[in-house]
Amino acid sequence: MSFFRRSVLSGCLSVVFLSSTAHAGDLMNWGKKIAEEGNGSPGSIACMECHRLNGGGMPSIGSPRIAGQTAFYIEHEILGVQKGTRYAPVMAGVVYNLSKNDIRAVALYYASVRTPKLPDVSPPDPALVALGKHIAQKGLWKKNVPACVLCHGPNGRGIPPHFPYIEGQNKGYLLRQLISFAFLKRKDDPQGLMRGIARHLTQRERKAVAEYFASLNPPATAGRGK
């Protein structure tokens, strides 16, 4: 049975067959396998190359921490990269050959893993953190920017399933996403909410918000405490 299943999987043939037979546990194992080695198709790249096996990400290259993000959100983002609605030049080359089932599996896996915060590239800048904290907790309503925590949850711990946690995310990733929303082609945000908000901020304010959330400790899982 397991040989049979594996051969089906590595052939990457039958999404329908799999989803009707595989249990959540099998899907999870398959997700871990993709994270570790890719899905077996030629040239496939393992997620862990940039996100690590436990989903801590790589602050040095601004690769995001994804451990404990909701499966819904991870799946939505990978699909967005495939469709081109989410600007992600690196990810696009990695996920193009993942099937819908692969994506669901890997999302399930990374939603389930836990990992401590990894050291960021530089210590938090106190002046930026103070400004970022004000924007994050109180907003800049004169520019139509509500407090970040209104939609990302208390201290940015996430509001499942649509609003990811940003608490303890690395600063390189956070700043790059704000820039992508503001000027590049990240347009997978519901109703263009983030595009509007990121555009209303100045570059210093974007940086400050990134510094602030990066200075916090991440939640163990989106929408929950530490």
Binding site: W141, K143, P146, L150, R157, I159, P190, L193, G223
Partner: protein, 265 residues
């Protein structure tokens, strides 16, 4: 009018000369001429400042700091956005200078404290705190501080809620349901019950047992439509058309919620 147009000139000049920024910040739906409340750093130290800060805590975390008087999952800030500072979201600086006033709601001249009691009874579906309680006193102090420099008894831009022009078509909950699904359900849920983050209420319920009751201001379609028009979705105020705002308000207010306490028994 003259003041406003010169302000606009200044504002557009600022935008022109803000240099490197290719996407100038645009504050839609907010007139530059609205009253500016003092900033947080200006809260004085001492007993008065303490009372103001206490008021702000009650305002933003009502269920924590005024627990005995709260009967649902809302906070003052759920409707009075930006900690009671945002124009057209019934800002406190507009409220403080408008009381005492005659209200048709109860055919009485009410003081601000009495008006706040009404918030607890209807919008918070709870129990009115006594007028001399610390809860009311600190909320009044918070409002007083925020209205520093505002003219008393004069109509101010952005005061109260936005008064909607009459709808072209009769507000229709069925059309409103579609607007709700497209623009509101993301945060408030298709079931209107809001969303939580861990144990905390994150997005307020807009109907159901933990929302405002039938006696609240927002239970009136015109009031809710004005609030939605200028403020919803967050950061996207003034993007729904007037008709959409009327329709979605009709839909939300057609949903079940706790009864008006004046009409029970």
């Amino acid at each position: 009018m003259k003041i406003r147009s010169s302000l606009l000139v200044v504002a557009s000049a600022t935008l022109l000369f803000s240099g490197s920024q290719s996407f100038p910040p645009i504050a839609r739906g907010q007139e530059p001429a609205t009253f500016q409340p003092p900033s947080d750093s200006e809260i004085p130290s001492g007993p008065f400042g303490d009372l103001v800060r206490k008021g702000e805590h009650i305002f933003t975390q009502t269920g924590v700091y005024a627990r005995p008087y709260v009967g649902n999952d809302l906070t003052c800030e759920s409707c009075h956005l930006d900690r009671g500072r945002k124009p057209y979201a019934a800002p406190l600086w507009g409220a403080y200078v408008s009381y005492p006033r005659f209200r048709t709601k109860n055919n009485k001249v009410s003081r601000l404290g009495e008006r706040i009691q009404g918030c607890f009874r209807f919008s918070m579906n709870g129990t009115p705190p006594p007028l001399d309680s610390e809860t009311i006193r600190s909320l009044v102090a918070y409002s007083f501080w925020m209205s520093r420099g505002a003219p008393v008894g004069v109509k101010l831009a952005g005061q109260g809620m936005y008064r909607m022009p009459r709808p072209k078509r009769q507000p229709d909950p069925f059309r409103g349901k579609k607007v709700y699904a497209a623009r509101c359900a993301l945060c408030h849920g298709a079931d209107g019950l809001g969303a939580t983050s861990g144990h905390d209420v994150a997005f307020p319920p807009v109907w159901g047992p933990r929302s405002y009751n039938m006696g609240a201001g927002l239970a009136k379609v015109s009031k809710l439509a004005g609030f939605v028009k200028m403020n919803m979705p967050l950061s996207k105020g003034d993007t729904l058309t007037n008709q959409e705002s009327w329709d979605v308000a009709a839909y939300v207010d057609s949903q079940p919620r706790p009864a008006d306490p004046r009409k029970i028994r």
